[in-house]
Amino acid sequence: MKFVGKAKLLKKQIINEENFRFVIKRSDEMGCVYPGQFFNVSASKVGYPMLKRPISVSDVGEDTIEFTIKIIGEGTRAMLDYNEGEAVELMGPLGNGFEYGGYRKILVIGGGIGIAPLKGLINSLKKTEVEIHSVLGYRDAPYLYEDFAANSAICEIVSENDEQYNRGYVTDPVKKMLESEVYDMIYVCGPYPMLKNLTDLFNSKGFRAQLLMEEKMACGIGACLVCTCKTKNGDFGFKHSRMCKDGPMFYSDEVIFDE
């Protein structure tokens, strides 16, 4: 079930200089919304920029949906201008989210704004009995970590620039954890180089992870073929899979990273 239309912005909250949160009224027409899925959100009321922006669900409430948005360019900057109480044009839920039924011990690895969709994931898991280990990487000061800290047996935070935390990239703690722990599933979301480096690591160690990937999108539903990534097909072949429709979740052993 896909909703196409306007939904009320119930709450707008500034997280820090770069990030903000939208809580949107969830309507019945949206049906079930799963972590890892996304909505295509109109950047402004005047219809500029033209294309809707894909934004992951970062939490789902009884009748709310939460988005956590990082200001990147003119589209996300424009979104910040919606006022509480106004209607936001959007479409969704879209794509295939995470698969998470039946796992007992999982590792979630997020980088920057890539932490947002994982927050939705762990908040869906809480109720069941899952042991969560988290590794969160930031460029500067951490944010969005509270739910991870509260719900994870282990929660490692690294930052490239904030001296209060372990300096470096998520790959460092992950390497160590993969040596001592066994996980039923690993979930990753973050920038392309991080996904690529971790996938190399997983492949070399025989782990399989669910990656939430990102690409520029237009239709958001699988019709226009502008959002493809290379995935394996047969023993030596590849195909171009649609990030929006076949993903955005792909298993780490499916994806072919370029360069």
């Binding site: 033209m50 294309l51 479409m91 520029k216 539903i221 699988g222 019709a223 073929l225 502008v226 195909k239």
Partner: protein
């Protein structure tokens, strides 16, 4: 409320209404069928088909520009055979016309596809002559009047169906090309295809698209498209299927007044999947407001 006559005859292809969707923006209709009622659309031009399946271009395929987007999909499609076996039956569930958009590397490939499709259950064949001509250094077929004449005349002979020729806008003189197209037997002309465009990532100093440039579509090109539709309509007597940046009722009516017998919605579907239905209703409202009962009386009705 009066009953309006929305049917329009594109010289042998009769549409229930003048709203169609543009090739490459609608896949084979499957995805959008989950969102809107395809029975409401006059025709669907399917994703550009090639003789063999194609995986399309690698790397990033799209970059947004002011009120436009540049795409470089590279004709990713499952091939004409797969289309025939898997997609036609799906589309036939709906009361809409099927336009098969065909793309070749050589004139021979175009002819083969036209021949194959002539025996299949499609309503029209749309010859996309914006493809790079392998034998002519990769320049698009549609930019050279001589080659346009050759490809249209040969495909016409191979094609037993209604034949639309889709023109490239990247030319000095669209009128001459349109005239040739008519002379060689096209039943209808569609235009415009995308315009050559480019965007550069100033931080890593590479074009955003691996192939350097791609095709610009969307509202940005609307004034250019409208001028070309007007120009073509003024020199041919076969019907014109107009497109290029049409996003709302006003845009669509502009094209119709300029001479388009029907319009195609492309890029606008991405920002507003309801666009085809809203525009259809908008045209009906406009007709009622100005006392038109038959859509056909609106076509080319400029008062100069």
């Amino acid at each position: 409320m009066n009953k309006l006559k929305m049917k329009v005859d594109l010289n042998g292809l009769t549409l229930n209404n003048p709203i169609t969707v543009a090739s490459g923006t609608y896949g084979f209709g499957r995805e959008y069928s989950e969102i809107i009622d395809l029975n409401q659309i006059g025709a669907i031009s399917v994703k550009g088909l090639t003789l063999e399946p194609r995986e399309g271009n690698e790397g990033r395929r799209m970059v947004e520009t002011p009120m436009g987007m540049i795409n470089s999909v590279g004709l990713q499609n499952p091939g004409i055979r797969f289309f025939i076996e898997n997609e036609i039956t799906f589309l036939r569930q709906f009361d809409t016309k099927i336009i098969a958009n065909i793309n070749g590397n050589t004139i021979d490939e175009y002819c083969k596809m036209a021949k194959i499709l002539s025996d299949e259950d499609v309503d029209s064949i749309e010859l996309n002559i914006s493809c790079p001509n392998v034998k002519n250094g990769g320049l698009a077929f549609g930019t050279n009047p001589k080659i346009v004449r050759e490809v249209v005349s040969k495909v016409r002979k191979a094609c037993k169906k209604h034949l639309i020729v889709k023109l490239s806008p990247n030319v000095t003189d669209i009128k001459t090309i349109a005239r040739i197209t008519e002379e060689e037997g096209a039943d209808c002309i569609s235009l415009i295809n995308t315009m050559a465009g480019m965007a550069i990532d100033i931080h890593n100093r590479k074009p955003f698209l691996k192939r350097v440039s791609g095709g610009l579509s969307g509202p940005a090109i609307k004034p250019i498209a409208l001028k070309m539709v007007y120009d073509v309509h003024s020199v041919v007597s076969i019907p014109v299927l107009g497109m290029g940046g049409i996003s709302n009722t006003t845009d669509a009516i502009e094209f119709i007044l300029a001479g388009a017998s029907a319009v195609a919605i492309g890029t606008a579907n991405f920002s507003n999947p309801y666009a085809p239905l809203e525009i259809k209703k908008g045209i009906e409202d406009y007709m009622r407001h100005y006392g038109h009962v038959d859509f056909n009386t609106l076509i080319g009705d400029l008062r100069m």
